[in-house]
């Protein structure tokens, strides 16, 4: 299916005209566990246009990785279950795809940098063995000599600014520092460049100059190869400096979506504001206390707005009804009853 025929027409109508690459509609994900059902994703809506860099932020456990795994259909089923929703990739619903189409999406359409580099790397193989396997896989049958494969495997290691890539190839994961392991994972995702790159916490344990270098690399991918990127990170500053649009997620719901500049200049949702306040500032002045309370128990999530038990502005309606997205402007939506009469 041709992407160009798919015009953006999501609810926000943000910068309409650019083709939609990914569109998640009203997605629910539940986990059946001992003691009941974890109702984690609770009607997620999310879109990515081609060539767009989208940020996704929110506290630990709010469902970011779960959403991404649903896209790749790599959630463990059981315990996971998808009671409702659609995930369109280039116009085709991933949730309804057969094995062959799905394999094509995973090998050509979408690649993902996983959050936990230790889990993503196999401890008993060297970095070289693992990277060469990815190179071979991406060749799709083309034959290369061992040396050529090794040479190809080194290129991405250089691109992610790893010191002597030769040593890296012959090292086992345990011999590398945390940040080096992470860059190896990023290198692996880069070997096969796709249409959509999902980066789940890339570079969290890197220093800012290298983080900067990797983010510029992502940027270049977008520019040169028109790759779209979903960037998940707890470092809000990175989101501000590298993405075009941001989604804020809380307890399985998208609670705010806006153009990046707009979101950082005018955060509206009480949850978004709480997150922003917790960020340590270069201007000094100590560290705020963080948002009071914690993420709800998904066995029995609060009714209405899932944030209401932690919210300083909660009203009666918040305890009963789930807030819909209110549009504040062309590029800013927020799911909170404080804005039901507009901004």
């Amino acid at each position: 299916m041709n992407t160009a025929t798919l015009q953006a027409q999501d609810s926000a109508g943000l910068s309409a005209g650019t083709p939609l690459l990914l569109e998640i509609k009203d997605l629910y994900v539940h986990f059946d566990v001992y003691g009941g059902t974890l109702k984690v994703l609770d009607g997620v809506n999310f879109t990515v246009r081609s060539g767009e860099k989208v940020g996704l932020v929110g506290e630990t456990g709010c469902g970011k990785t779960t959403t991404m795994k649903a896209i790749l259909r790599i959630l463990p089923m059981p315990p996971a279950r998808i009671p409702g929703g659609e995930i369109y990739f280039k116009g085709q619903d991933i949730l309804k795809m057969g094995e062959a189409d799905l394999r094509r999406v995973r090998s050509e359409g979408i690649s993902m940098i996983f959050q936990d580099p230790t889990a993503a790397l196999n401890p008993v193989f060297t970095i070289g063995q693992q990277l060469e396997a990815v190179v071979k896989y991406s060749l799709e049958g083309k034959k290369l000599s061992r040396r050529e494969i090794r040479e190809r495997a080194i290129i991405p290691l250089r691109e992610v600014a790893l010191p002597d890539p030769e040593r890296m190839l012959d090292s086992y994961p345990i011999q590398l520092s945390g940040g080096m392991r992470q860059r190896v994972c990023i290198a692996m995702a880069l070997v096969a460049s796709r249409e959509l790159l999902i980066a789940d916490e890339p570079g969290t344990s890197l220093d800012v100059t290298i983080q900067d270098q990797i983010l510029r690399l992502l940027h270049r991918l977008v520019e040169e190869k028109n790759v779209s990127v979903i960037l998940i990170t707890h470092t809000l500053g990175v989101v501000r400096e590298t993405t075009d649009r941001v989604y804020v997620m809380y307890a399985g719901n998208m609670v705010e979506a806006a153009d990046t500049r707009e979101l950082f200049a005018r955060p509206m949702h009480p949850y978004t504001r709480g997150l922003m306040d917790a960020v340590p500032r270069l201007t000094g002045g100590g560290i705020a206390g963080g948002i009071r309370g914690r993420i709800p128990d998904y066995l029995d999530p609060p009714p209405g707005c899932r944030f209401h038990p932690r919210c300083d502005h909660a009203m009666d309606i918040c305890r009963q009804e789930k807030p819909p997205f209110y549009r504040l402007s062309d590029n800013h939506e927020v799911a909170c009853f404080l804005y039901r009469d507009g901004g």
Binding site: T60, D207, T209, D212, H234, L282, G286, A288, G290, I291
Partner: protein, 326 residues
């Protein structure tokens, strides 16, 4: 007057990672830490910043005694930590504790929280009532007492880190190394943990060696900061001074790359210095100043002579040829 609690002098830690040459006899050495000196004062938070692989954790692990130094020395309240070949006496082990970078893998998944906290109590404080003490430790890190029956995998990342902090507190230490205690956590939990650590520091008069790569966080927690690059320290200064007046080109590069969330902070940053060039490896450290390959202000002498530390202002030292080498 403040006294020094930890003094690190010309510390070196090399790892042999293999052999090269036809007969495989020439050792290949990683110089993870290569001549590091600094002191931590009683009751302060000393920050150690540096890029991935610069040797921060290796400094930490050597300080708690997981590694023996290849050369150099660490002393704690004047006492050499590596005297002779003996293992470290219990009384010293009790004083220095660590909270690891990764909260997930530092707690044994087969032990519940009670057993995890019991272990250091049994070793270091045999006389005390353990159950009472476990409840008190959980209280200190703001976790309810019934958490003692939980297993690590039932806890969130932030809660695991709270348990790790409680475990470090169990021996009643005076010095705690915090190796990126919040880098795997979200900003809201980070804020809670940092506030907790600051409260505990006041309450028990603790000294911290705080390792992080988050300079904005460092700005808000550390009293003094040292920057590490490729196994060496390149600049040490008081935190506020450090951000106001960075001298070393690497420090300037770091500060200019900090991702920030507001325009006000943007104004504080030096003009962006793009980081280029290959990152050298600790196996093959460049001659002269090890930063010269990436340095925008490099001079001829930089590739030949390794600069020494000089004090440019009181309490502010830099290792760079731009600043009056002796």
């Amino acid at each position: 007057m403040t006294t020094d609690i930890l003094t690190v002098t010309n510390l070196k830690k090399y790892f042999v990672i293999g052999h090269s040459g036809i007969l495989k006899r020439k050792p290949i050495t990683v110089k993870a830490v290569d001549g590091v000196s600094f002191t931590v004062k009683e009751g302060e938070t000393f920050g150690l910043v540096g890029e991935s692989g610069s040797g921060k954790s290796t400094v930490a692990y050597t300080t708690i005694g997981m590694y023996r130094p290849t050369a150099g020395n660490i002393s704690f309240r004047g006492q050499n930590l590596f005297e002779g070949n003996r293992t470290r006496p219990l009384a010293l082990k009790k004083e220095i504790q660590i909270v690891f970078q990764d909260p997930g893998s530092s707690l044994n998944p087969r032990r519940n929280i009670r057993q995890i906290l019991e272990l250091p109590l049994r070793i270091h404080r045999p006389g005390d009532n353990r159950l009472e003490e476990i409840v008190r430790l959980l209280e200190m890190v703001e976790l309810p007492p019934d958490y003692m029956h939980k297993y690590p995998q039932m806890l969130g990342g932030g809660e695991k880190q709270m348990v790790a902090i409680a475990r470090a507190l169990a021996t009643e230490p005076s010095f705690i190394i915090l190796d990126e205690p919040t880098s795997a956590l979200d900003v809201s939990i980070q804020a809670k943990i940092i506030n907790l650590l600051i409260r505990l520091q006041d309450e028990f008069h603790l000294s911290y060696l705080f390792i992080t790569h988050d300079l904005s966080l460092m700005r808000n927690v550390a009293s003094r900061v040292a920057i590490m690059y490729l196994g060496k320290i390149c600049e040490v200064a008081e935190a506020a001074e450090f951000f106001r007046n960075p001298y070393h080109p690497y420090t300037q590069m770091l500060l200019s790359a900090i991702p920030v969330v507001s325009e006000e902070e943007e104004k504080l940053k030096p003009k962006k210095i793009i980081s280029t060039g290959e990152i050298p490896s600790p196996v093959n450290i460049p001659s002269g100043c090890s930063f010269h390959l990436r340095c925008p202000k490099k001079m001829d002498i930089c590739s030949e002579v390794d600069p020494v530390m000089v004090e440019v202002e009181e309490g502010h030292t830099v290792r760079c040829h731009l600043y009056g080498q002796p």
